[in-house]
């Protein structure tokens, strides 16, 4: 026993000294987080928004929301599908998803909780949905053309897309990538009242195998003269014109679908009250009246004055039908692509 102690004492001594040294060294950290935590807001004054909007849209709206309510908003940006999948895979941070077509939001309606904003009574029934999402702005699908290349007989409507006159001259984004392209495809089928697969096959043939990779390139491709006409959202077209692209807009004579984009509160989120206040805010007159001037978007709220668009005719867009045929149509589209490459 005695000799064990003798052997142990230097070791213990070393250990004690090393420990005290470690304590001395660890004393040189920075300021403690608690020093600053008193500046941090309460949970009730916080909101975490995932958004697929562009900064030019979300920033002024969120800044105004913060200044009016004092709520601290944290923003996470990304593509609609990316953000939806993130939430679906169990991301619990997100309180509210801001942006994305309501067809995308409807596809993931399980993730969202129902909220009927009192402001919805000023929104037309066709835009309301059943509470899992709240509309923000309405986005008609339009045709565009390059006025330098097309002078006398501009495209008139969906039927023009099947017209052999435009074969190989149509800029159309790949619907397997672009949500708005898929919407356009469904709208065309509905507007022309054609058998779906037949219509798609014919349209594909008229594209002459040329499909644009993403929707953001359509405007550019038409303005640069690579294509004569194109299919895109009205907002993209107006913004393109504002940016100086030389394109003209055609509202299809058969009518077009006006699918709103929206926002939705995630189920069991931590800041649901703040999220509701944000939904009320984006439906308020103050925001809705700015949509067209500031963001080239059509408001969903009634009674907001915007310049009349000649020829804009709405046809009903069947979200349910679009959702249930989504996989079939895209598979068929992919098969057409493979067949064409052979």
């Amino acid at each position: 026993m005695n000799h064990i102690l003798q052997g142990d004492i230097p070791m213990r001594l070393i250990l004690v000294l090393l420990l005290s040294l470690a304590l001395v060294l660890s004393g040189c950290g920075g300021q403690s987080p608690s020093e600053f935590s008193r500046f941090a807001p309460e949970e009730s004054q916080r909101l975490i928004i995932y958004t697929s909007h562009k900064k030019e849209i979300y920033e002024p709206i969120i800044r105004e929301f913060e200044q009016r309510t004092g709520i601290w908003v944290e923003i996470v940006t990304g593509g609609t599908t990316e953000l939806l999948q993130k939430i679906a895979s169990g991301d619990t941070r997100c309180d509210l998803l801001f942006g994305g077509g309501i067809d995308s939001l409807s596809a993931y309606s399980d993730l969202f909780t129902v909220y009927e904003s009192p402001e919805l009574e000023n929104v037309p029934d066709s835009m309301r949905g059943n509470g899992e999402w709240t509309p923000f702005s309405s986005l008609p699908i339009v045709l565009i053309y390059n006025p330098k290349l097309v002078k006398f007989n501009p495209p008139e409507g969906w039927s023009s897309l099947l017209d052999p006159e435009w074969k190989g001259k149509i800029a159309f984004a790949n619907p397997t990538v672009s949500g708005s392209s898929y919407t356009a495809l469904v709208t065309m089928i509905k507007a022309l009242e054609r058998e779906p697969m037949e219509c798609i096959a014919e349209f594909y043939k008229n594209l002459d195998g040329k499909v644009i990779a993403s929707s953001s390139e359509v405007i550019h491709a038409v303005a640069q003269g690579e294509y004569f006409i194109g299919v895109t959202l009205e907002v993209s077209a107006i913004e393109g014109i504002k940016e100086g692209y030389d394109i003209a807009i055609v509202y299809p004579e058969e009518g077009t679908s006006i699918v709103p984009d929206g926002a939705a509160i995630v189920k069991n989120c931590r800041h649901e009250e703040s999220a509701r206040r944000f939904l009320d805010f984006i439906l308020s007159t103050d925001v809705q009246s700015r949509l067209y001037d500031a963001f080239s978007r059509r408001p969903v709220r009634n009674g907001i004055y915007i310049p009349a668009a000649s020829g804009l005719k709405s046809i009903e867009y069947d979200i349910e039908w679009a959702g249930s045929h989504h996989a079939d149509i895209l598979r068929f589209w992919a098969e057409l692509g493979r067949g064409a490459s052979k």
Binding site: L17, Q31, F36, E64, Q67, W72
Partner: protein
């Protein structure tokens, strides 16, 4: 490590020296470094707080002043009536506006807007053409507030507004105050160190102003995220300390960004300098500790090795040392000890060898004693049956002497020895007739003394041969006395004496081997081997008058064992 330390005390000394030398040094260095860092940090914190006090002070003062002025303007009858009339070019109002805002026009721009958002009067050089949005931003805030409201102005400073109302609360217009970046900069100038940066944040920590515009936006974004995530405020990149100060009632916040003196690069170099110094000390210490522990342990190691050699039986090992300290003395003691041990061992072996030789010689002298004994027995009975009693007596006595000489045990009592002497004298009496007489004069107290077996007989034989031969009145006396604790046995005769040269040899202390007188020599050797050189034989003689031979023995008495005790 522990096993290594246990194996030798040298290693323990080594470790101890290392610890004692290095640890205080190490601790001292670390503590000094820490104290230095803490002091410097405390100074930096104090400096930062002073700067923040000054910055917040001037900003609060300015905003309070502007608040007061806007109140004065918004409630003045001149402003109200002018706005109600709708004119936009009133000289009087301009005079009033410039006069009132004189103190703050360096820092701020004052505008008066009408109720539909058009600017009517401004302290800037040109009237802005564009109308303010009424349902957005600062005008919205002003309309929904009774007093002066303040907002960040799109990261370009601050914008404040106050609604101008009629007495019954209808909006007549808005008083808008813009503090551009330059204005704020002129307020802050000289109130903070040039290495620091100032950030002005609105209540939700959106940047209103930053003194270093290059990284301001990224830094504020990072700070806001860190605050919301409950992390320490470290900014985006670079190593800074951040000091936060809320001021005023609007929830605006000032942040001072201060570069760290002890950045990780500085700390790294500090620590590496310390580490290199420490390493040098370690090497020095290692060397010294090693030499010292070796110096201490080397002699002990040598002694340890030598001891192990001795244990193995090598007594000739000697330690070489030139040291004069305790270790030197220890080594020479060791050397002396092994030397003496070796000598003792040698003499002991020698003695044993000699004893063995002597006994062997005596055994050789005892020629076949059993045969003699049996023969003597036969002679005795022959003498008895043939009526020759002298033969019987001779044979009996001779047999007794013979038995005693071949019996076991080297020591007998003096009494037993004297009995044998009597027998011997009986024999010699028959041989020599009455030509000599023998007297034994021994006190009873000596009877029990132990003497080596047959030590007296050679003396008596010698006396008879040399003393009685050729005479008819031979006289032999055997005496015993005690002198200085030793027993003296003396055999004296009145014969012709012992020749000179033999006498000399007998008395020589070495006891040289004499050519004749083997019996006397053997007696001497046996006594000396048993008892040591101070005992032995001595003789004196006068030629023609007689001789005296004396044995000197230690007084030893038979030990009474239990059995003898029972029968006596």
């Amino acid at each position: 490590m522990r096993a290594w330390a246990k194996r030798s005390f040298k290693n323990r000394i080594f470790i101890t020296i290392l610890l004692v030398a290095l640890l205080p040094l190490f601790l001292c260095a670390v503590l000094m470094l820490q104290v230095q860092i803490k002091r410097s940090e405390a100074e930096l914190i104090q400096q930062a707080n002073q700067e923040l006090d000054s910055l917040a002070g001037v900003l609060t003062e300015t905003l309070e002043g502007i608040d007061a002025i806007t109140h004065e303007l918004a409630t003045s009858t001149l402003v109200r009536s002018t706005l109600r009339r709708g004119g936009s070019d009133s000289r009087v109002l301009y005079q009033f506006l410039f006069h009132t805002t004189n103190e703050y026009r360096n820092a701020a721009q004052f505008d008066i807007y009408d109720s539909s958002g058009f600017c009517r009067y401004t302290t800037a050089s040109d009237l802005p053409d564009k109308a303010m949005e009424l349902d957005w931003g600062i005008i919205y805030a002003a309309r929904h507030d009774e007093g002066f409201v303040l907002q960040e102005n799109g990261r370009k400073g601050l914008i404040g507004a106050r609604a101008i109302r009629t007495y019954d609360g209808n909006i007549l217009g808005y008083l808008v105050v813009t503090l551009w970046e330059e204005g704020i900069e002129s307020l802050f100038r000289g109130r903070y160190s040039s290495v620091n940066n100032v950030i002005l944040l609105d209540p939700t920590w959106r940047a209103a102003y930053y003194s270093q515009s290059a990284q301001g936006l990224a830094t504020t974004g990072a700070l806001r995220e860190q605050l919301l995530n409950g992390e320490p405020l470290t900014g985006r990149e670079g190593e800074f300390n951040f000091y936060v100060r809320e001021f005023g009632d609007d929830g605006f916040t000032l942040i001072l960004q201060q570069p760290r003196t002890f950045t990780s690069a500085v700390m790294r170099s500090l620590y590496s300098v310390s580490a290199i110094t420490g390493l040098l000390c370690l090497i020095l210490c290692l060397g010294c500790a090693w030499v010292l522990s070796r110096h201490l342990s080397k002699p002990v190691d040598e002694l340890d090795t030598a001891m192990r050699e001795v244990e193995k039986g090598n007594y000739e090992i000697q330690l070489e040392t030139s040291r004069t300290d305790e270790f030197g003395r220890l080594a020479s003691s060791f050397n002396r000890m092994t030397r003496e041990y070796l000598l003792n061992l040698e003499s002991s072996v020698q003695r044993q060898k000699e004893l063995n030789e002597t006994q062997l010689r005596m055994m050789q002298a005892q020629l076949n004693p059993h045969f003699l004994y049996n023969t003597l027995d036969s002679m005795k009975w022959l003498g008895v049956t043939h009526g020759v009693p002298q033969v019987a007596t001779l044979a009996t006595n001779l047999a007794t002497i013979l038995r005693a000489s071949i019996s076991e045990g080297e020591f007998v009592t003096l009494q037993q020895e004297l009995e044998l002497i009597e027998r011997y004298i009986d024999i010699q009496s028959i041989r020599f007739g009455d030509r000599f007489t023998c007297e034994i004069d021994i006190d009873d107290k000596f009877q029990s003394c132990l003497v080596p077996k047959l030590v007296l007989q050679p003396l008596v034989e010698n006396a008879i041969i040399h003393g009685v031969e050729g005479r008819n009145d031979g006289y032999i006396k055997i005496r015993a006395e005690e002198q200085d604790g030793a027993l003296l046995l003396t055999v004296s005769d009145n014969g012709r004496g012992i020749p000179e040269e033999i006498l000399e040899k007998l008395n020589s202390p070495d006891g040289m081997k004499p050519s004749g007188h083997l019996g006397l020599y053997n007696v001497d050797r046996i006594i000396r081997l048993h008892y040591g050189d101070q005992y032995g034989i001595s003789a004196e003689s006068v030629k023609g008058e007689g001789s005296r031979v004396q044995l000197r023995l230690p007084i030893q008495r038979e030990e009474k064992n239990d059995a003898e005790g029972t029968y006596s």
